[in-house]
């Protein structure tokens, strides 16, 4: 069985417990794929470069990053650049033959680019163009399986490979898609959510997905540790889960749903701050969704 471990973005640089635990799993013969994000670090680097991170609100109230061309450059620098390289080195030090990948590598994470986004701004609905984001529709499972079969442990991150059909791109200033004389669709690195990337990978591999975060699962009452939802198996459980999930946990629950619909065996949402966070999550110390 394969396990996909999503580790938190902000602390992606020093997730010692998770890395040691991944090493134990790999040493015992498990196949593991590590996935990480790092949105906070992108914002920090944007600010160090004198740029302002931009977030927009959609009409239904979801807040997300607006990824212009410069932000995409910084995104590449921070995620497949600094964070992925450091995380891969961290796994080497645990004895794991880790190989870093972004969603661009071999089109690991592929789908259409969305260059336009509907936003809510000053009480107006608007179309913002020039966004570099996309929707993952396909996972190159063959690339992961090739590496796993060779004894390597993939460490994957976003961006994804976005196919720029240019249907939505109208503005002349949106030059990121390259040569104007070349009308065919082009691939370019675009933003995607790392939880959903992990979900897509777990789905494609039929894997168990462990989403490590800073809480031990989803709680009916966040202030009462005894109210963790331990297992989600029935439609009623799902409805309880969706009622209980708040804030950033909402997105994790949606990612869990995508993973299971895509073919994942199970999804466990658990804390990264445990001794052996992956194995204990797999052993049930988590909100486990089936």
């Amino acid at each position: 069985m394969t396990t996909v471990v999503k580790i938190g973005g902000a602390r992606a640089v020093d997730p010692d417990g998770a890395l040691a635990d991944v090493a134990e799993l790999v040493a015992s013969g498990e196949q593991v794929v590590v996935v990480h994000g790092g949105s906070t670090a992108v914002d920090e680097t944007l600010e160090a470069l004198g740029e302002e991170p931009e977030y927009v609100e959609t009409p239904s109230g979801v807040v997300g990053r607006f990824t212009d061309e410069r932000t995409m450059e910084v995104f590449e620098m921070v995620l497949p650049g600094k964070l992925n390289t450091d995380l891969t080195a961290g796994l080497l030090n645990e004895g794991v033959d880790a190989v870093g990948l972004s969603g661009v590598d071999g089109k690991l994470l592929a789908g259409p680019r969305k260059s336009a986004v509907r936003v809510q701004e000053d009480g107006k609905k608007k179309i913002r163009r020039g966004d570099h984001s996309g929707t993952i529709k396909q996972v190159n499972a063959d690339l992961l399986e090739t590496l796993l079969a060779g004894g390597y442990t993939p460490v994957a991150t976003v961006p994804m490979a976005g196919k720029d059909g240019d249907r939505e791109a109208r503005s002349a200033s949106d030059s990121a898609s390259g040569d104007d004389e070349e009308p065919r669709a082009k691939w370019l690195p675009v933003n995607a959510d790392a939880d959903r990337a992990a979900a897509a990978i777990a789905g494609a591999l039929g894997a168990d997905l462990v989403v490590l975060t800073d809480v031990s699962g989803v709680y009916a009452d966040p202030d009462d540790a005894s109210t963790r939802i331990d297992e989600v198996a029935t439609p009623e459980d799902w409805s309880d889960l969706e009622d209980a999930a708040e804030g950033f946990m909402t997105k994790k629950v949606m990612a869990a749903e995508e993973a299971l619909e895509g073919g994942a065996a199970s999804v466990a949402v658990a804390t990264a701050n445990a001794d052996a966070p992956v194995t204990s999550a797999l052993d049930g110390d988590a909100t486990t969704i089936l």
């Binding site: 990053r65 986004v117 509907r118 107006k124 179309i127 976003v158 933003n191 959510d193």
Partner: protein
Amino acid sequence: MTTCTECGADVALHDDAEAGEIVDCTTCGAELEVIDVSPPVLEKAPELEEDWGE
């Protein structure tokens, strides 16, 4: 004053309308994107899946 691309009815833009803004046709209810303001050009606003990145 310009016309709805969907039903042909007159559509009036606010004075502070800006390119990219979505206005609703009061006659047929279509969502129209303001492509340009002077002269006003409207187009059917694209349906876009809600999504988010990292």
